[in-house]
Symmetry: C2
Subunit: 237 residues, 2 copies
């Protein structure tokens, strides 16, 4: 996992894909914090072993989002864990975040790459084999497959692909780009994370499993242990 790969997007020189550790990818969402601050959730998650943080906000104003993103970026300072912003490249740029995560309804990955530059982390959601086929892999540093299982965090999501669908899509992605890191999202928690990793991905992305947990630190720590063990069993770590 996290294999470096050269590609040609983002400038005249081949771009070195930025290594991204997807093992425990924690999405913080104001609606999924049990009343805690986004910063408190993110700090606990990273202290527990989260390897990447995404700020996801479908309702805040641009000004609120920039303030929250700046607070998260400051909170992660010195941890080595990058912050990416869901959808909103404007917020990512204004807050100095490390990158952005885009899906089918968001800015095209190539546009996000162009606006955020060669060094930014650009992540892409992929929900089906068709989307895997059409993806602009040269523009992205990782992909995230979902929805894997049904979940309350994304009520308007497509039908879940399940573990079999996840395996099939992950294989397809690797046919188009063998080296891109692949994660999975939706309905993943400590009890099913090992099975998710066994389906062929490099890590798990979660929202409520950490943000809405009684103890986000403990939830992140448990997920990290489960994922590390499953990756070892797959011979991938």
């Amino acid at each position: 996992m996290n294999v470096l790969a050269y590609n040609n997007e983002g400038g005249p020189e081949p771009r070195l894909r930025r290594p991204v550790d997807l093992r425990v990818y924690c999405l913080v969402d104001p609606l999924q914090t049990r009343g805690r601050s986004l910063v408190d959730v993110a700090k606990a998650a990273v202290a527990g072993g989260a390897t990447l943080v995404q700020y996801r906000d479908k309702h805040g104003s641009t000004r609120e989002m920039i303030a929250n993103a700046r607070a998260l970026k400051a909170a992660l300072e010195g941890t080595g864990v990058p912050l990416v912003i869901n959808d909103r490249v404007d917020v990512a740029l204004a807050a100095g975040a490390d990158g952005s995560h885009v899906g089918l309804d968001d800015m095209a990955a190539r546009d996000a790459r162009r606006l955020m530059g060669r060094d930014a982390i650009i992540g892409l959601s992929i929900g089906s084999v068709a989307e895997a086929r059409d993806a602009a892999y040269e523009a992205v540093d990782y992909v995230c497959i979902g929805c894997v299982f049904r979940t309350g965090s994304k009520p308007d999501a497509e039908p879940p692909v399940g573990l079999d669908g996840l395996r099939r899509i992950a294989e397809d992605i690797r046919r188009f780009d063998p080296k891109v890191p692949v994660g999975a999202i939706s309905g993943i928690h400590a009890d099913n994370a090992a099975a998710v990793v066994a389906a062929g991905v490099d890590g798990v992305a979660v929202i409520s499993a950490i943000g809405a947990a009684p103890d986000p630190w403990m939830a992140a720590r448990t997920l990290r242990l489960v994922v590390d063990r499953a990756l070892a069993a797959e011979g991938q770590s």
Copy 2:
């Protein structure tokens, strides 16, 4: 109006404020087109005499907004009329729009200037004397005062300032920056536009008065005639 002014935001060199003609500022909003396309409304408005177009969309996905903004930019090609995007600097950058318009809930004007560059048009909404006092005029190319009158296009807006409030805020803005072009918005149409201009502004911004008019071309043309006559009477044109 449209006086050039030097200021120091946007780089080490003084920035020449980009001249912006606010006489008839047409905001196109998908909810205010009577079922016509955004492009059809914008083209009719500009053919009728609109001097600036803003794309305003509070509900579309980022991908839809970028597609709409690109279509609008292409439609205005060659007209000399610039396109600015409400709030979303990401959409403006991705679509190659001429600038963005920000308000209290949006990205700070200084951040928008930094991200969009020295040559972009950055516009700012101002709703009160307090906001006029705190504005970062050196970052913006024009300001727009509102809400002037009550309107259905902005149902969650603050109480309207009326013509007296408009005059007071416009005077205050000019105390802080005598040369910034000043427009007015909300509830303005051909029957009250002359009074609005007489209150001391350089033009009128409208949404439904053009977009929801039976004939947007005719509506823009009428507004332009009224505004030009009122500006001549004020000795401002």
